[in-house]
Symmetry: C2
Subunit: 112 residues, 2 copies
């Protein structure tokens, strides 16, 4: 019997949205690049190789979800990871992913 919470319908939508924010390679790339500390938009553009518009958009999505923080300093805007649970989240997913991969390498490749 493991029923942590009643889990109201709209609470579920919020959780889903949270996962959706993480369901994007570009955003994961940005988060991963921020793992070792705060960086400006331009730096992130250079490090990730994305276009400036895209990086900015994705950073806003992350900021809106309170996953990264935004600090303005002169012309530049610095983003940093704001939610520490993101580290654990990625660890968990990477961990269980590795287990799946070592067993059946193509399981995810053909997913919908």
């Amino acid at each position: 019997m493991k029923k942590p919470r009643p889990l109201s319908p709209d609470a579920m939508a919020l959780v889903a949205r949270r996962f959706a924010v993480l369901a994007e390679p570009t955003r994961l790339h940005l988060l991963h690049t921020l793992f070792d500390g705060e960086k400006s938009v331009n730096t992130l553009v250079e490090l990730t190789g994305g276009t400036q518009a895209n990086v900015s958009r994705h950073l806003q999505t992350l900021a809106h979800a309170h996953m990264v923080s935004r600090r303005k300093e002169g012309l530049q805007v610095f983003y940093a990871i704001a939610d520490p649970s993101i580290f654990k989240l990625c660890e968990l997913v990477c961990g269980s992913l590795e287990k799946s991969l070592t067993k059946q390498a193509d399981s995810f490749a053909e997913a919908p």
Copy 2:
């Protein structure tokens, strides 16, 4: 300095896909309903209130991602949570979500 792994580009895509599977209220509802044990498709249809076709499709998506297991018994098919990390994942997200909600209730309501 927290760089868990090199994080190859296609590994990131896999992680993103994994999160994407969880980024769906219907699938979260199904997982949550399975928290207290294995259930048949029909039971899940009744408990979640979704259509049979939808429930079946979403269960397949979950099974394809190795998050649930599939056991056939006569006419019925029983699904159960296969990846224990899902419990921790949901706990993490729900936890950090609650913190965000108690601070700013509308932050997510207007997300993109």
